[in-house]
Amino acid sequence: MSVKYAVLGLLAQRRGYGYDLVQRFEEQVGPAWQLNAGAIYVALDKLEQEGLVRPLTPEDGAAPATRRRTARGAPRVIYEATPEGLERFEDWMATGSSMSPLREELHLKLALSQPRNLPRLIELTYEQEQACLERLEQHLGGAASFEELLSSTPPWSVVASVMVRDAEIAHLQATVEWLRRIREAMRWLQERPQALRPPLR
């Protein structure tokens, strides 16, 4: 649902076609979103139906661009945001943001586990921490750090992308800290089997 507004926002910046929007989304939001490129096209269709964006026609003076073709030979459609679209985007920017629920497979496994699963669960926390490190590795030597940001006068787009990237780093850090806490707790329990009495019926 928010991809719809992101596409609208990208078109509010400047006109563009499907693949161009996919690339700009990746560039500005980052890989953490794990965008499914198809979602962009779905969003474009929906936005067009609602009259928030419209495809350019030759009368718009965009003829040379619209005549360009995609790799498969279909005409490449260039979209732009309509005035209603721009207004809707401004409304969206002004409203509060929803938080998506925390849904991790590991949480389900923990919730449905038994004491006999302890050794494997502890091992899973190591594997999960390893996965976090792998995600973190993608940020190694990142292009811009806050230091560079603060010591120069960067364009807003750079500041914005660093802040978004920092969100993933913060999330990974919190996850690793959580994994370490539950691992310590599970180890403690593992060394004291008497603490693992079956629940009362």
Partner: protein
């Protein structure tokens, strides 16, 4: 060629009636120019790891090899000499040399090889490089914690070590100072080929390094890119899993 190599390093301490395993089978290879960042919370074993790597403590099992020579086979004197020449250390407790000015403390490792004036000039440059030139004329008690850390870094780097072991060198620094210190570390690794093992308490501090890993409960957790085809190994888990069956 590997400069520092830890193989199966284990270290135990007595804590009251219990024995804690501060390091449990650590394997780590560091090449010249490598900048390794180790992420560990408190009591994760990170300071112990650096002390063992520096040869200050001997492992209970496993071996530490520096410059293709097992540290255990070197004499005590030889190990102490390494700490004055090839291995630079930055400890969290920012050690000072009593009776020396801040500048002379930084210049100390160079006094033997250089005229004192020359060594002090180098110390000035080094303090400038780590972003705290004002420390040169300050008294010890006037330094902030962040300045002390950077004085310790200058003291470690001035000897041009081949290996730098830094225990939370970014503690007590603000964001700008932190990036500056990490930038210095990165550049000595990239330009001078110094091998660096640094510990850090959180994720943002890891990101200027070349390689990152995590230390928890004495175990080193490495991303798959680090493992060169072998599966991550947790001996005790395998054993406990067997016992619990």
């Amino acid at each position: 060629m590997t400069l520092l190599s830890l193989a199966g390093v284990t270290k135990r301490f007595a804590r009251g009636y219990r024995e804690v395993e501060a390091l449990a089978g650590i394997d780590l290879d560091v090449e010249p120019g490598d900048f390794v960042a180790i992420w560990g919370g408190s009591r994760s074993g990170k300071t112990t790891l650096l002390r063992v790597a520096a040869g200050i403590e001997a492992p209970d099992a496993g071996s530490v090899t520096f410059d293709s020579k097992d540290l255990a086979s070197r004499s005590r004197r030889d190990r102490a000499r390494l700490l004055l020449t090839d291995i630079g250390c930055v400890w969290q407790t920012g050690r000072i040399t009593r009776g020396l000015s801040v500048l002379d403390h930084v210049a100390l490792p160079r006094f033997k090889e250089r005229a004192h004036a020359q060594a002090r000039r180098e110390a000035h440059e080094m303090l400038e490089r780590v972003g705290t030139p004002q420390a040169a004329t300050a008294r010890w008690h006037e330094l902030t914690d962040g300045e002390r850390t950077r004085v310790a870094l200058a003291h470690a780097l001035i000897r041009r070590p081949r290996l730098l072991l830094a225990d939370e060198p970014t503690a007590n620094l603000n964001m700008i100072e932190r990036e500056q210190v990490l930038g210095v570390l990165r550049s000595v690794a990239d330009e001078a080929g110094v091998a660096i093992v640094m510990t850090a308490p959180d994720a943002p501090n890891l990101l200027q390094s070349h390689r990152l890993m995590s230390l928890d409960g004495g175990r080193l957790i490495k991303p798959r890119s680090e493992q060169r085809g072998t599966l991550i190994d947790f001996p005790d888990i395998g054993e406990r899993a067997k016992r619990s069956r």
